[in-house]
Symmetry: C2
């Protein structure tokens, strides 16, 4: 049978339907989808591809999904470090945003972020920032999958002046991209402390109507929880329950401040938790009890957060950090083993974003979002267990090739849809402008 592509790997980790590592298997791709997964020898007998990729020292994995980021903030990478979250936000990031964020900033920052993510094996990201239409267009134009957040926040920004305008523009963005194969949308109320009751209630209703997720920072810091207790007489999570926001649609980011009663709430409403271990550590926000949540049957996925707080968009590193942090905190080296964190960066992420029918695993019928990681590097040799090398020994620099919907967007570490020198030039220009400003 004639097909578009065969990618054969030394190892293949499908993630679903079960924990297993296939050796010398191939992915057969036709019209952007996975048509078959079978031993390479059989694939070569049964299928005639237009293009064949023999990845003889590589492990093939599903494209990684970065469930929480603010892509364009890559232009603020390293602008302000080693300081408390509210100081960082109030005195550095928000003033810089007020001064510099416009459509061009978003386009350029997103290009830089998307390039970094592709080179790190990320094929899909869930974003929250201003001008989501620009973010969506940039990502899709270079062949990357994205879920953009329809941002809502109580104060005026370059994107919108008041609550009504946030909603109107969000609706426009949703309508504009509703049939685009690479673009999804989610409501993105910034945080409980920055969005008041009325817009939150409206989001609960509209998200149901539009059938999209709600992406929100929740319980990021102790200060946030305390402020909510003072102002509303209840925790942010309780307030969100009252306002009708707790459901399977909710993607609750960070969740570092959790009582047992909060965990019960998350479980009761099937809320998804988006865990950003490195951002939480760097900003000393607290610890998300990821393993405890998983044990309670709560869906937990991983995100990098934006480059202004992390300061990279490295999901391989984030998986490692998630595993290490949970092992250390739970005083148990068996928790969050390598396969579990890979799930958190793939299938759990796809479930959270309600995209598990198309991405999140190497499964027949799903989109061909595939990443090849070269284990033939002295840093990851010898290989006793490819999943262990992938999570605990590899750098993202070993990501060699990336496909989204069957289109190759990274070839031997070279971006095929973007020009690296141009990105350097763009970053240099913004550096000069922001430094002098």
């Amino acid at each position: 049978m004639n097909v578009d592509i065969i990618i054969s790997g030394r190892w293949l980790i499908p993630v679903e339907p079960e924990d297993r590592i296939l050796e010398k298997h191939a992915i057969v791709i036709n019209e952007g989808r996975i048509l078959d997964i079978l031993p390479t020898v059989d694939a070569n007998n049964q299928y005639h591809p237009k293009k064949q990729h023999d990845m003889n020292s590589h492990v093939l994995i599903p494209g990684l999904i970065n469930t929480h980021t603010h892509a364009a903030m890559s232009l603020f990478k390293g602008l302000a470090d080693d300081m408390p979250l509210m100081d960082w936000l109030n005195n550095h990031i928000w003033p810089a945003e007020t001064k510099f964020v416009n459509q061009q900033f978003i386009a350029d920052g997103t290009r830089l972020a998307v390039a970094e993510m592709i080179r790190g094996g990320i094929t899909c990201f869930n974003d929250m920032y201003f001008f989501p239409d620009v973010t969506a267009e940039v990502a899709a134009s270079v062949g990357m999958r994205v879920c953009v957040g329809l941002i809502v926040i109580d104060f005026p920004t370059a994107w919108a002046n008041d609550s009504q305008e946030y909603f109107d523009k969000g609706q426009q963005v949703h309508d504009q991209f509703r049939h685009h194969p690479l673009i999804e949308t989610a409501f993105a109320p910034h945080a409980p402390y920055s969005v008041s009751d009325h817009p939150l209630e409206k989001i609960a209703v509209l998200a149901e109507e539009l059938d999209i997720p709600i992406h929100m920072h929740v319980h990021e810091t102790g200060f946030e929880v305390q402020k909510s207790q003072e102002e509303y007489g209840m925790s942010p999570l309780k307030r969100l329950e009252k306002l009708g926001l707790l459901s399977q649609r909710l993607l609750a980011v960070h969740m570092t401040q959790l009582q047992d009663s909060d965990i019960e709430l998350l479980h009761k409403y099937n809320v998804n938790v988006l865990h950003c271990p490195e951002s939480n550590l760097k900003l000393a926000a607290g610890f998300c009890p990821a393993n405890t949540l998983l044990k309670h049957g709560i869906n937990v996925a991983l995100g990098t957060d934006g480059s202004a707080s992390n300061n990279n968009l490295d999901m391989l590193g984030e998986m490692r950090s998630a595993s290490f942090m949970s092992k250390g905190l739970e005083k148990d080296p068996t928790v969050l083993p390598a396969m579990e964190v890979l799930k958190m960066a793939t299938i759990n992420a796809a479930r959270a974003l309600d995209m598990a029918e198309i991405v999140g695993s190497l499964s027949i019928g799903k989109s061909a979002d595939v990443v090849a990681v070269n284990l033939d590097s002295i840093e990851s040799m010898p290989v006793y267990d490819p999943i262990s090398q992938l999570i605990y020994a590899c750098d993202r620099s070993q990501v060699s090739d990336v496909w989204v919907a069957g289109k190759q967007i990274l070839t031997h570490r070279v971006l095929t849809t973007m020009e690296e020198n141009q990105l350097r030039h763009i970053a240099g220009n913004w550096q000069a402008r922001i430094t002098s400003g």
Copy 2:
């Protein structure tokens, strides 16, 4: 004036004498030592080098020092993960060592580890393993600096059969390399639970005579402390005090189980702490209160531990993890800022190893152990603060060039004294042997 080398950097972080970042400065090298550090324009006027390196998008830093590793264990990388320390040690690592460790294993494993370390900007490592003479020879033969541990442990191994033989062989190794410019030695009693009183007392005396450090795992796990309480009626640290081992010579590795009284002991005797954050997290051993120790004036340096427990020898990653871990645990994002962790990987490490007169900073008169990290990568652009990009955004894959004592051992990421394909071949052979065994 005629000199050997000028390396000019876009940025230069000398680490000493003060926290500063020099722009467009050059390092002038003659006969393996740093002759001068000055603005590049002045260097070009005053000196005539045989070789000139213009690193126009790089930050120059002192060579990183990995203060705790078991280099040859790189051949066991990923052999056993996600399990408790004593299970990992008793049921996996020690049996594998019994079966496979011999001189060839040490030579091959060290070659693999040294190659990885050089590619990660490490110019010196403090090792603890069997056949330290082999480790020393391999490292020095490729131009890398090393302090090898004269291992002492209560049970017989491939290296020695009994206490006397450990001492005899240790003394031989010390004598063999005592005048080698790249090789130092330290006593390396494995741990309080694996070395009895008599050899420990002997080490205290001999270390003084030979004027060398004592490198030892101490207070790695709660189990170790508890066992010592049961067996000796005191903590391991108290026992070491009684046996005369607490002094500025002691390099106490891990130190995850510390009471206030322990911290007082460390301070009183000027003990050095070798902090391995990633190994401690991965094995869930506990947390070393690095920032608290530093605040008490205790010297704390960083190490990766061996590749069987980490699973990489990545000091850039280790600096990042050290910063993140302390910020998270102390609930304070201002602790262990980027410059502080760079010190822990350079000058603090040199002080611990009693090598601060020759390495640990880019200072006139010291050995030219220099690392260039290329910040002209989309992953670390824009650059507002090179130290922030180095610690929080860079991968070790951005390490481009490495010099030890003025000899270049990495050029544009290519090893100059080792053959990467040969290393792959060696690793592959051991992989086959260990897998089938």
